[in-house]
């Protein structure tokens, strides 16, 4: 790579927060028209580095060179005028505004009368940008009507509208199905050809190796190395990220399949589920794969009583049950770890202790008064058992890492000793190390006899963790595979075409 191909060079960047050296002497280079992956565990310094690049945080030391010229980036508008754009994991679109309004928010084309907006120009320009990305999105549509993937595309269009030639994307695929990811990757390749440089932050190494030209690894605020993808492999990158050998990614003890704990027959919610049959045994992990919108979350929510079933029977431990509400499902011994832990799973501003014990109040209260000594003991037991890394039981859950937050939710269910645990995307947005721990935890639960139902969009996870795999397609079960006979291809075929081929 010759020197004049270097588009961005961040040199010797350091940044300290009280008590933490977030970045130490990190040098990071991006070439013109390349897709450069930035990886590292949570807390490795990726987001701090990106915040410095986009002017959201001041740096303590180091310099930034763009197009061969030293540049000063101290506030977000500096970065914007240099053509740097960032697409955050939490999308920055306003749901009630239209696509066009979102793209040009703050920069609306002006009509002849000052202060008035030239709507037709705005929508024409917005549509042009969307068409350039080759995506089927109407500029007049309200953002809340779009899928996450489409919203992602709108973000890209917004970046392009700023004439960005460096776009940093923070985990853009975390909420996308495999097919949508492919569409995003096509867009990224198109941009790359147009000379745009892309920084791709992801926890999914498979995707990094699929799309990126080079990869840079950070660990504990330090640069571990940059390597061309062609000269690297996943094992090496993982090793660089965690600083140790991870061992097998999906360790799994053989389990004896026991009696059926949960059985659904012809389950239908009248909208997204159309006659689903399912059997979950004690001590097994049943993986549910499928594209976004295939009805996986609907299945979980119907089983847990969040949405009503219009038809079908559910049997729990052989008895027919009517799952009319989450409270009922919980009483019957079911637990549900939802897809969006921050929105649906955690009391972010409450302490770790409260988050763990809140469902077990029956065991901790007498005449309405909470026995906090017992609560402490219970919370401590699960913090130790699940190895939740927190400075203390009083720590607010907001301040924990994603992996530890997820463990807190699982701990809450374990206080109730569930017979069935449903997990919807349990490792989304969680770094590699913590991911393996969550997998180990699920496996341990299965061994203790719990029936585990896991929904996941990550095929390697589904294949690695599950004993059996159910593939959904348009609200129906399109295929069922045993762990040993399933391949990524089989699952994808069932998920996309709805036909399991010769599998069953």
């Amino acid at each position: 790579m010759s020197a004049n191909d270097v588009f961005l060079r961040m040199e010797g960047i350091s940044k300290a927060f009280p008590g933490v050296q977030a970045l130490q002497d990190v040098t990071f280079e991006v070439a013109r028209g390349e897709i450069h992956a930035l990886v590292g565990e949570n807390g490795a310094g990726k987001s701090t580095l990106m915040k410095i690049l986009t002017g959201a945080l001041p740096r303590d030391d180091g310099r930034i060179v763009m197009r061969g010229q030293p540049v000063e980036i101290s506030i977000p508008s500096d970065a914007r005028s240099l053509g740097i754009s960032m697409i955050h994991q939490e999308l920055s679109l306003i749901p009630y505004l239209t696509v066009g309004q979102n793209i040009y928010l703050g920069r609306e084309p002006q009509a002849r009368i000052p202060g008035f907006i030239d709507w037709s120009a705005l929508y024409a320009q917005a549509q042009q940008l969307l068409d350039r990305l080759n995506v089927d999105v109407d500029a007049h549509a309200e953002v809340q009507e779009l899928s996450i993937a489409q919203q992602q595309m709108v973000e890209v269009a917004k970046a392009l509208s700023l004439n960005a030639d460096l776009i940093a994307m923070d985990e853009p695929t975390s909420a996308l199905s495999e097919r949508e990811t492919e569409v995003l990757f096509d867009v990224m390749r198109t941009l790359e050809k147009q000379g745009v440089s892309l920084i791709f932050i992801s926890h999914r190494l498979g995707e990094v190796f699929q799309i990126a030209d080079r990869v840079t690894v950070l660990r504990d605020g330090q640069l571990i190395g940059t390597a061309p993808i062609a000269e690297s492999d996943e094992d090496r990158v993982v090793q660089m990220m965690v600083g140790r050998e991870l061992g097998e990614m999906y360790p799994r003890a053989e389990v004896q399949r026991r009696e059926v704990v949960l059985e659904a027959i012809d389950l239908d919610d009248g909208r997204e589920l159309h006659g689903v049959d399912l059997r979950l045994h004690c001590g097994e992990i049943l993986g549910v794969a499928g594209l976004v919108g295939a009805g996986r979350t609907a299945l979980a929510e119907t089983l847990f009583g969040i949405r009503p079933a219009v038809a079908g029977d559910v049997h729990l431990e052989g008895r027919q049950v009517k799952l009319s509400s989450p409270g009922e499902a919980i009483r019957l011994g079911m637990g549900f770890v939802p897809e969006d832990r921050k929105l649906q799973g955690l009391f972010l501003n409450m302490a770790v202790r409260e988050n763990i014990v809140i469902s077990a109040m029956d065991k901790l209260t007498r005449w309405g008064f909470v026995n906090f000594t017992k609560a402490d003991r219970m919370a401590r037991e699960f913090v130790d058992k699940l190895d939740i890394r927190t400075p203390g039981l009083r720590q607010r859950v907001r301040n924990l890492s994603g992996g530890n937050q997820q463990k807190v939710i699982i701990a809450r269910w374990l206080t109730l000793k569930p017979r069935v645990l449903i997990l919807d995307e349990p490792t989304r947005g969680i770094d590699v190390g913590a991911k393996a721990e969550i997998h180990a935890l699920m496996s341990q639960l299965a061994q203790e006899g719990v029936g585990v139902l896991m929904i996941s969009s990550e095929l390697p996870e589904v294949l690695g963790v599950s004993d059996r795999i159910l593939v959904m397609h348009e609200g129906r079960v399109a295929g069922e595979f045993d762990r040993d006979q399933a391949t990524q291809d089989d699952i994808m075929r069932a998920a996309t075409s709805g036909k399991a081929n010769d599998a069953q």
């Binding site: 920055s92 679109l93 306003i94 009630y96 505004l97 309004q101 928010l105 609306e108 009509a111 907006i117």
Partner: protein, 317 residues
Amino acid sequence: MHNSHLSSLGEILRRFSVFVILLVICLVFALGSSDFLTASNLLNVALQTSIITIVAIGMTFTILTAGIDLSVGSVMALCGALAAGQAVRQGWGTYGGIGAGLLAGLVLGAINGLLIIKGKMPPFVATLAMMAVARGLTLVYTQGRPIAGLEQDFIFWGTGRLLGTPVPVILMASLTLLAFVVLRHTRFGLYVYATGGNEEITRLAGVSPGWIKLAVYVISGFTAALGGVLLTARLWSAQPNVAVGWELDAIAAPVLGGISLFGGVGGIGGTLVGAFIIGVMSNGLNLLGVPSYYQQVIKGVVFILAVMLDLLTKRRR
């Protein structure tokens, strides 16, 4: 073809469900009282509704930014009293007095806005405090007594007619139209929605939500002051205890009209329809001779039904 036609009709019903409710209420009263559907009564309804609609327009702006202005009732009283007092007692004349009243509304609104954006107070708290302060100042300023003796020019603004239409109705219509244009076609309007939709994103887009919020409280202060002046003119005098509790109607109108208290959703047409539901209810129940104590109960129940129906039709999307 036939099917898509039907679904678009359903869509229209959904979008304008509150409007349909208003029509149904009107129909009920028209059947119940032959006096309801007369030109003079309808104009009367418009007149009775005009002042609260004007105040509700300002309220709509604050609610669209996910805020609220609880001080409007007190601000109406204070600004109406100031206008009358300065005009009559201080000899500033009708327009000097009205000018003073309107200016006071702008200032009080600005204070609300500054408490919220600079003092970082929740809008509910800042404007609740202002509600007490402004009511107290009204009592201090009027010494608890009505201010009468307004000139004919002053009274014209509340009771006069232009081309057969009451002046407050003309003002209500013009302000509604103005608010519609501002919200739909100007940058400021878009930023009001954006701020209510997500303040942080708005900030990142290079827009200052602080300015937008300051502006909406100034607007709300102004429309409350205008409402106060018109009310004073209609009553031929300023009363210190006037407009107590009007903030509730001013909030109910946009909320009935589908404007989300969480911000970012709804349009000024909803406020107009919501205000008329309130106005028509009062008028119709009076015509039917329903005792005023029962009127309150019936109004409350109709509000609940209206909002429930609105939520149900929206949820079905």
